[in-house]
Subunit: 346 residues, 4 copies
């Protein structure tokens, strides 16, 4: 399978390259970078030495790239991917596209334009939302997959059984999420400066983070009605990992066993979802470097709430890993191909 990566020098691109290096069916054809075209990838990322002998190409060659590739991963900032999607599809109608940004995540383009402040320029695309465990059959046939955000993957996976089985009050959902710093990318900023981040934790973008409408859209679809949630992201002094702690009020009369059943029935046969059960405590470290999502849930009898907790590696299940999981599905391969490694612990 011939693979190209457009926008390969961010952490998401590097993570795609890391995983694809061990994928038995993957042949990486082109990798592009608009900031450093012509540079050897091993110069940008010395850790990849031994795995790629490639010079960074540029979007100027997109037509050629699209024609020669079976699948393109896009690792560009939002607003840019849809242009690439449109042109690549035009150049090669058989191309499969997996976008790791936000451009193809929303069915409702108004929501996209409202939160992302740019006009959507590829509305005719038949894009599918790539949260594999929820949308597997659609992903299989999709020409374009909008790969989910990191926070959204963890948060939706934690809440989906509760919503789908109608166990919770939909007006009561609160997601308090904690993320490592790699989510902020490789671009320099004071907020990602080592000495500023170290031994500190803080919230950011309260009531305004763009993953909020994404979570709402997917959960709303599962619920069959619109809903709003409170979502608060926090920055944690570590590179990888997301923990989503999700709160909701249980409906009257919902027993703990009902909650257990919801998780078991929805995820019991999912390889990449490891159920720690009621009372379980997921830790991000147990998922480091893997495509696993660890899930635990708790019933607070005194308050009538359920607290569901999900842990993922934001760069794997929250980005590159799930993208490759989707690719495996799209190309009818065993879903865990290239993704079946144990976590790096400790």
């Amino acid at each position: 399978m011939k693979i190209s990566i457009v926008g390969a020098t961010g952490y998401t691109g590097a993570e795609l390259l890391r995983i694809l290096a061990s994928h038995p069916a993957a042949e990486v054809l082109y990798i592009t970078s608009e900031s450093q075209p012509g540079t050897d990838i091993n110069e940008v990322y010395p850790h990849l030495t031994r795995f790629y002998n490639k010079t960074l190409a540029s979007l100027a060659d997109l037509d050629k790239i699209a024609i020669e590739s079976d699948v393109i991963f896009i690792g560009l900032p939002h607003g840019h991917a849809m242009e690439v999607g449109r042109k690549a599809t035009a150049a090669n109608p058989n191309i499969r596209i997996i976008d790791l940004g936000a451009d193809y995540r929303f069915k409702n383009h108004d929501v996209y334009e409202q939160w992302y402040k740019v006009p959507h320029t590829h509305k005719e695309a038949q894009a599918v939302y790539g949260l594999t465990e929820l949308n597997r059959s659609q992903v299989r046939e999709a020409a374009i997959v909008g790969n989910p955000g990191c926070y959204t993957t963890a948060s939706i996976l934690a809440l989906a059984p509760l919503v789908q089985h109608k166990l919770i009050d939909l007006t009561s959902i609160i997601v308090d999420a904690k993320s490592g710093v790699s989510g902020a990318g490789r671009s320099l900023s004071l907020g990602s400066h080592f000495t500023e981040v170290f031994e500190s934790v803080k919230a950011y973008n309260v009531a305004g983070h763009r993953h909020t409408p994404e979570i709402e859209a997917v959960l709303g679809e599962l619920a069959g009605e619109e809903l709003v949630i409170s979502f608060t992201p926090h920055l944690i002094p570590m590179p990888r990992g997301i923990l989503s702690t999700c709160y909701a009020r249980l409906k009257e009369g919902v027993s703990p066993e009902k909650v257990d059943e919801a998780y078991d029935s929805m995820y019991g046969s999912e390889y990449f979802i490891r159920l720690l059960g009621r009372g379980g405590y997921p830790a991000t470290k147990n998922t480091r470097g893997t495509n696993f999502c660890d899930l635990g849930w708790h019933i607070d009898k005194r308050t009538g709430r359920v607290i569901a907790i999900a842990a993922i590696d934001n760069l794997v299940k929250g980005a590159a890993g799930q993208a490759i999981q989707n690719m495996n599905v799209m190309f009818k391969m065993e879903e865990r191909t290239g993704l079946d490694n144990a976590p790096l612990y400790p």
Copy 2:
């Protein structure tokens, strides 16, 4: 002022010693340790070299300690402090006691016994809850102060203005708290082992942490009615700092300005509370090594919730610093004496 510290070798004790070393009116008389009596304190804590020439005493000498001291800080595990309190008071009726554990925090001893699983043996003590900003005048006259827990300090300070001014639905309070590892103390455990904690975040004691009833009791008193909250602590890979992210539903018609006023009127003249205002983002690092509590709050119009965030250093405002703040109040000194240093940043 002659000061003794009973249970001085935990992190709370070491932090008392650190701060008292710069306190102009403090004379540290005895420091005790049941695990290492007879040892030089500089051997236990080499960083204190130059500040103390003291050998660790033992509780066997409690009578003498109580008689010679003006004030005793207790840094023992819960269940042990009340015995010390009883005996020290008997030996010296004028002694002032500040307990950094839970034994003297609860007016309702039933709640204490239910959550801490030990009988209370000093119920006749007229103990005062030492959240200085809320209880200053009572602290001034108190013989015994129950110094608040670290999580509780941050959480109560964040929520008190909303509760006191009756701005929120009392059934809707959720506190999602994040703490550094020093809160777990210096005792060895796999959960505090460097390689296990590093690059990981997880929740613990969901719906069961003992700081829950403490927060409920204090907020309930402010509200004039009983209430229950959801409280979830998380372990963050850093030694110091607590961030409490608090969620509540605003009552119908409460304007953002009303919320601002509640914070301003309650804390506007408090030195140790730095109001970052509506939209502000406290970061634990900005409080490192100090007695400050930084507060910010946010209104989520879409969901009708207020999100209030507090950052403290768990060992200072969350333990030793507030204890010394209370001591200053009890002995009619300027409240910030010995506590007026700038944070260690970065």
Copy 3:
């Protein structure tokens, strides 16, 4: 290939299990623990969930284990492995043994007994020192391999070309090494307590670390004469990684090109050694989770010294990875089988 791991619950054992989970020819048969026999491995190491369904066995079953296994990895403290080696060999003369401790590393048992303070009880064993790149042909035929220490692997790989090509003054060798905390194992100690290690660096065991005689023995053999070195280990606040900074005085007239040639000729065709060349700066992070050793060297013209720097992951090339590399060699498999993954970065 049927594999058993004796002493599987330390970090080295866990790392063997992590790597073997992706090794196509490996079948893990027994894993033992004397501290937790009968426990499910996933309870000890939740991150391994999905990879092993095994209960921990005990050394009481060593005979059975030896008879059914093709190879045994030993992850026990020094002094214990040689007993296991002796008994396993007696039970199954065809067994291959790879010991990750010190018991089989020394040809000269006097040196072992002097530094490790225990009598050697399996002197008749024909053990081979398992630094694969130096001893490959001997490893291939070995019944018992003494797998090198973590510091020694990095330090010897950095210095071997200089010694073998007789480019340096043998009396001038100084190794200043920096290690992550996982090298201290999973046993609890104040020195591995999170809050103690964090934001601190210090040396330990100056002039007395047990990896010193191991480095000396191997380099001495390469040199054809005895030598002593200064070796100083340091503890770095991170879990994984070793950086060895090695100093030596160049012999009169040795040109920089001569030095380059020594590295190229010795390692030019070694897959797991990545030469960063003269002026190169290895970083431990670039090797994280892999069996690579990154090497760079520098000539200080002002002082006439060469500074050679090696970076490895102490748990992989410094322990479990090299052990599996040796296993691959011993069983005539492609040497990089199961070890050919890209580093986890960032």
Copy 4:
């Protein structure tokens, strides 16, 4: 005492402000920044809230600043401080200047120009090198003090007794130093990006770091002859702290007691130097946030070397703290004024 800080927004400037906030005789008059003039300092450094109500001034007002100030601290990049020094001295001949950069550190301007690649433009200045413990009496009278580099402070303090007492072979000195990331400053760079630094250690500037000639000059003066050393700095994943591990060959017949005496006689009465003695292991954490330098030394009998180890906080004893120590000396105050706090531990 009226103090101004020119170049106040780097970490060194922020650290000066932190310490001066607790200095009883300090009145901070002007603080300047060329990048953010007109900005409130609390906006740049929110942790300083409560301590300064100041807007950043600019160098355009240097004359006024110099005339109104008793002392100016300069926190500018090398090459810029000497211009400020020249102009400030012209405007106010009584001004005292403490430069935290390199411009005034070298008696031999040729060495400065060779390593720093800029012409020296204030050669007529009678600057004194401000390693307080070595140069106290000169500092007292100095108009301009060149405050030492961070690496140099630790390295010189570790080696000075050995050099002064002629105990070591001067051609054998090697300094292997480890530094936290704050030494690289607040300017953004990939090398200080959180995710790149975390869980990694590497060397940099081998055989070329600019602190090398500074160490050589000072030690050479103590020795009474020129000398060259090997100096290797390393980046450690923590914000603060430097550990210098220094190696040298002992001269024939030098006993361990002779070494002990050298340290005791040179530093026995120095408050800020804490001697851990022969066999002692300084840890950077024990000095965090303080002006202490912890020293330990070891004799390696097998190799005839002495290994001397120094730990400091690079921003305090390695920069702002020593600068204030020098100010205290220059203004005839008790040397530890404003600097006598216990370390922040853990």
